[in-house]
């Protein structure tokens, strides 16, 4: 019952909003270049389907690549930081600086540095910058949050650094890392779109660039269609990472437990 409601209630709300939107737009005869009705958006989606799908694929490819690189590099540097306070002290301020400088402001610089002929790489770097920091910061905290008594026990049993890292610190950091991945998954999407707004997508056209062009051409229905795809992509990324989190944590971590009894 409650499982059904969980999906039924938001779905019913969505249908109601779309119906109201459709009715009001038609009733007040709002011009399509101001606010298209859902049926107009659907028509735009089907009419431009191949183009939109190829744009989705271009964007998705870069998002996934940036996210994977951010995850790997974030975990790698967190491990380095956890091994050495000196390295952390030296590098952390620059990692913070990278994070707090608005990405929209750095994007043009990166595009120029990398060169317009390799715009894919520029998009990748920009998305990586946005997605990297939450993973680095959370994993660093997670690695340090290992139970100090367990740490003593590992030392008492003569555990090597590698054993402590693999058997104690990384499992302790896992809930932190997975939380950060959910944040960074969304951020890498935002990063790619922002980068496309600034730089375009070179020869290929991503969703961000499609939105920019549709807006300039006053193809507002097509813009909405692209927006819809973008939102769907964001939700899919979030759902996939939530599923990963559940798979890895549901047996033991408080956050993933369902209340029983």
């Amino acid at each position: 019952m409650s499982a059904l409601l969980k999906y039924l209630v938001p779905f019913a709300l969505g249908v109601a909003v779309l119906a109201a939107w459709q009715t009001l737009v038609r009733f007040y005869a709002v011009p399509v270049y101001l606010l298209p009705a859902p049926s107009d958006v659907w028509a735009a989606l089907t009419a431009n389907f191949p183009e939109l799908m190829s744009a989705l694929w271009v964007t998705l490819r870069i998002v996934v690549a940036a996210f994977v690189i951010a995850a790997l590099s974030g975990v790698f540097w967190a491990i380095v930081f956890a091994q050495s306070r000196v390295v952390e002290m030296a590098l952390y301020p620059y990692a913070v600086a990278l994070q707090v400088t608005p990405v929209v402001a750095i994007a043009p610089l990166i595009v120029i540095l990398v060169g317009f002929e390799r715009i894919d790489l520029a998009l990748l770097i920009i998305a990586w910058i946005v997605a990297f920091f939450p993973i680095l910061a959370n994993t660093t905290i997670g690695l340090r949050s290992a139970d100090s008594n367990l740490m003593d026990l590992f030392r008492l049993y003569g555990a090597s650094r590698w054993q402590i890292l693999w058997r104690l610190q990384l499992p302790s950091a896992l809930p932190y890392l997975l939380g950060a991945l959910k944040v960074s998954g969304g951020l890498s999407l935002i990063g790619v779109i922002v980068a496309e707004f600034v730089a375009g997508t070179g020869t290929d056209t991503g969703l961000g660039w499609t939105i920019t062009q549709a807006m300039r051409n006053l193809e507002i229905a097509k813009m909405f269609a692209a927006l819809g795809l973008l939102a769907t992509l964001g939700i899919a990324i979030f759902a996939a990472l939530s599923a990963l989190e559940y798979a890895l944590l549901h047996k033991w971590h408080e956050s993933a437990l369902t209340k029983q009894g």
């Binding site: 008594n149 026990l153 008492l156 049993y157 003569g158 555990a159 058997r167 499992p171 033991w252």
Partner: protein
């Protein structure tokens, strides 16, 4: 009994300037069940950590007669790895020593069975009660057959029933494995029931104020708590604690 270890003039001052231990002299013989008893803040746990080598003394020496023996530690909290099953937790010392899994697994399972947890090998810590978690913690400690078992108020957080049953099981393990146990507690009755010797400690700064040897029947069980010998032991320990630690 052969000497196992001796503490000579061991003192410890923490980096904040708190002097946890004055100068502690303490000898521990092989096969003893020694309780460290005293009010909180008297440095009982510090003595245990110094003995384990987890912290270094500020002054004095901790000497082992024949090199540092295989040592296990049980904390006040069960301190289990929440992501690992009871069996994997019990296997920890063996895994870290590089014992092959095919050999470590049956040994860890046997240790779990000895603390009454046969059938719970694949349970995760969150599925176990407080007393059962402490049993896993003890199984982890005995799985590698330590010569020296250090216990830091292991049963303080448990209810009376779980505590008494764990006391009996611990005595049984101690007898069967011929380990030396150093047991930190603030319960007079617990120390009277378990120990062959009690070192009463006093605070500010922490030191050993009195040592009481107890003549214990080799096999103690629940009925021992009702004997005059037990009452006498408890009275002597209590008197020493009041006298020296106040």
């Amino acid at each position: 009994m052969a000497p196992l270890l001796s503490l000579r003039g061991v003192s410890k001052t923490f980096s904040g300037g708190t002097q946890a231990l004055g100068a502690v002299d303490l000898d521990v013989a092989e096969g003893e069940f020694l309780s460290l008893l005293g009010p909180s803040g008297c440095g009982k746990s510090t003595v245990l950590r110094l003995t384990a080598g987890l912290i270094a003394p500020t002054g004095g020496t901790v000497k082992f007669a024949a090199g540092k023996p295989e040592t296990a530690f049980v904390f006040q909290e069960p301190t289990l790895m929440p992501w690992a099953s009871a069996l994997t937790n019990a296997r920890l010392a063996l895994d870290l020593e590089g014992v092959p899994r095919t050999e470590a697994e049956p040994r860890a399972a046997a240790a779990l069975a000895r603390v009454g947890l046969a059938g719970f090998e694949h349970a995760f810590p969150r599925e176990l009660s407080g007393g059962m978690k402490m049993r896993v913690s003890i199984a982890r400690a005995i799985a590698a057959k330590p010569k020296l078992l250090l216990m830091d108020e292991p049963f303080a957080a448990l209810d009376e029933l779980a505590r008494q049953s764990l006391n009996d099981d611990l005595l049984k393990l101690w007898r069967e494995d011929a380990m030396t146990v150093i047991f930190v507690t603030h319960s007079v009755y617990e120390s009277a029931y378990l120990s062959t010797r009690v070192a009463v400690m006093s605070a500010r700064p922490g030191r050993v104020a009195a040592e009481i040897a107890l003549e214990q029947p080799a096999a103690r069980e629940e009925s021992y708590r009702l004997t005059p010998e037990f009452a006498d032991a408890a009275r002597r320990i209590s008197a020493a604690l009041k006298d020296k630690a106040a």
